[in-house]
């Protein structure tokens, strides 16, 4: 039950055999390689749509940097696959940075020149740390940590993931001595959310609306203009809930200055020349559109687009005109080929020379090639249409197995390394 709309192969001009060649040149013509890019930067923010191998790509870039450069590299990741977490020794590690032991590299037959560290973002722990940092006194701190709304925020507030990722990045960059930090960004509804998160959180705590909400609980004097607002709000939400909300904001306001200042610093760090962005995508239409939109946004915010990594790209031989001719011959003359090939197959082993079976194999092999050719061609067209101009454009082939250990990460890393 395979659906397909392959164009009738014979009716198409077979003259695009040279096209993958041309796009290869395009990729290597760039000024830099990822190797060079990572050597010149301190922070790489890895971003892109969900499901394209972002986490794995970030880890691979980090592993390669630790292997090849004599530097201290941190991979800050969000939600790695369990086997990947195992490979990086992250299982049960949580928020703390943790060095990937040299033993793990040795077991994979590798000798890193530098050090590889890894850490996983724990939202709740990170938020608690923030509150401890910014709270004016111990009482406020404890009240915030115990507030039901706060617990709701730290655990479930989606945008808080973005904020925390950027906040942690800033903290680690400022306080530790890593030569390179590779950050994986959380899966978001909108790939851009994390760029705005620091600003939004700052706005959140300084908003006029916040004051509106708090007023009636600070002084019981509500002016005539805003009274209808509270009446409606009371009626919908109930005054008890409103009071909880107000209490929460009153507590949080004590930390507003700290948050605002911090968010500005985070914003500056993202725009700094030491920071670059690596957009990860596949050549599927939807993720690629999202990745392109993201690249445009980076440009409009004057942030540095260092690299675009295209993952899971089908092999170039699928676009080979000669190979297609062979596949078509196999499909159209499978009966004849079945009879003709039987003797040479019989010479390999017994029971291999049943012509009907050979015909079935021919048909399947040819069909499969022509099927995947359609997808490969679509991918190539998508890639040709890519208008963003990063310093590095790397293409990673479709790996036939999952990547779940250091050797796998190195294999992937080598593809993007240049």
């Amino acid at each position: 039950m395979v659906a397909r709309d392959r164009p009738r192969a014979r009716s198409r001009a077979p003259a695009d055999g040279d096209r993958p060649e041309r796009s290869r040149t395009r990729a290597t013509d760039r000024r830099t390689t990822l190797d060079g890019l990572l050597a010149a930067k301190e922070i790489v923010v890895c971003c892109g749509p969900g499901g394209v191998g972002k986490t794995t790509t970030a880890a691979a870039a980090g592993v390669l940097a630790a292997l090849r450069h004599g530097s201290k590299v941190l991979v800050l990741t969000v939600d790695p696959a369990r086997r990947l977490a195992d490979a990086l020794g992250l299982e049960g590690i949580g928020n703390e940075e943790h060095r990937v032991p040299d033993d793990a590299f040795r077991a994979a037959g590798l000798r890193p020149r530098g050090q590889l560290w890894a850490a996983m973002l724990d939202m709740k722990e990170s938020w608690d740390a923030l509150v401890r940092r910014h709270a004016p006194d111990a009482r406020t701190r404890d009240e915030i940590l115990a507030n039901p709304l706060y617990r709701n925020i730290s655990g479930r507030f989606v945008q808080s993931h973005d904020y925390i990722a950027m906040e942690r990045l800033y903290e680690i960059h400022a306080e530790r001595d890593y030569d390179l930090i590779v950050v994986d960004t959380p899966p978001t509804r909108n790939a851009l959310d994390f760029l705005d998160a620091p600003k939004r959180v700052a706005e959140f705590f300084s908003s006029r609306l916040l004051r509106w909400l708090i007023v009636p609980y600070r002084s019981r004097l509500v002016n005539a203009a805003s009274r209808p607002f509270y009446q409606v709000a009371d009626r919908i939400l109930g005054s008890e809930f409103l009071e909880d909300v107000a209490q929460f904001f009153i507590l949080f306001q004590s930390m507003q200055a700290g948050f605002a200042e911090r968010s500005e610093s985070v914003g500056r760090l993202l725009a700094d020349r030491r920071t670059t962005f690596m957009v990860v995508s596949t050549l599927e239409a939807t993720p690629l559109r999202e990745a392109e939109f993201f690249a445009e946004e980076l440009a409009s915010r004057r942030l540095h687009l260092g690299a675009i990594v295209l993952n899971k790209v089908l092999p170039g031989y699928l676009l080979d005109a000669g190979a297609r001719a062979v596949a078509e011959a196999m499909r159209e003359r499978s009966g004849e080929l079945g009879r003709e090939l039987a003797p040479s197959l019989a010479a390999i082993g017994s029971g291999l020379d049943d012509p009907a079976q050979i015909v079935r194999v021919m048909d399947e092999v040819a069909e499969s090639f022509l099927n995947f050719e359609v997808v490969a061609r679509r991918e190539m067209e998508e890639r040709e249409s890519l208008s963003a101009a990063p310093e590095v454009l790397a293409t990673v082939p479709f790996f036939d197995t999952d990547i779940f250990d250091l050797s796998g990460l190195v294999r992937l890393g080598e593809q993007i390394w240049g």
């Binding site: 939400l237 003359r333 499969s368 999952d402």
Partner: protein, 315 residues
Amino acid sequence: MTPLLEHRLLFVTGKGGTGKTTVASALALFASTRGRRVLVCEVDAKGDVAGFYEAPPTGFAAKEVLPGLFAMTMDTEASLREYLKLQLRIPVVGRIGPLAKAFDFVATAAPGVREILTVGKLCYEVRERNYDLVVVDAPASGHVIGQLTAPQAINSLVKVGLIRTQTDWMVELLSDHRTTGLVAVCTPEEMPVSETVELAERVRSETTVELSAVVVNRVLPELFGRQEERVFEALDEPGPRDALRGLTGGDPGPVLEAARLAVTMRRTRSAHLEHLRAAVDPSVPMLYLPYLFTRSHGLRTTRQVAASLGEELGY
């Protein structure tokens, strides 16, 4: 278990990149071709759904995109307006601007509030019987739980008030397994599978909603039986390979290699599928959709997926 299409409210979720919106659009399309009056609602307002029917972008007001098939895009502020219009008999028109902003603001702090406006609107359409079936292109796996549990979350935070009185019937509607179901979309790859397994567990332990089906998208075809695979391996030996070269007049290498890639991909993916099947409650039906070797997206593709879904559902 209630047959999938006999539900009246279906949430479709899945990890990003698995084809969640494709499946939601196709499911809605298929139901509409079976004569149901269907509403498909996208919650993550990316404006994708309309594209799957090659229709102009949709808004909060549902539009008929194909016969019997209506599409809308969730907008929590519009949902609040509609809610107030229906529920409150006090003159709020002039005040609604700042109120909506304040609501948005409170909603940011207490996630249940925003989600209740989404779920509330959907439940309302079901309760009022405006449609036979409402299909929701829901948020990705991690976030859908928050949506499904929003009424309970509100119940625990808000003790009195209008909202509180509204959540009880929603809880009832969402908990009724003959009415409401959750469909998880996944692909036979490591991360999507482990996320689906995790989702199934969370749905069971944290919500009252039933996981009604798992849709496995992009399943690669099986190329060979065991004996055929032997023949295929033998073809790659120098003798037959040279013979094949002579007969076709070209290098068969890439063609054989492509088949080998397809076989390995299929095999790696089968392992993930076995893991999925073993980890998910056996009473939950699995629907398998083939990998589409197509050039483009759009209505034609949606129809293909809808047809495959129909086959898998036994129509």
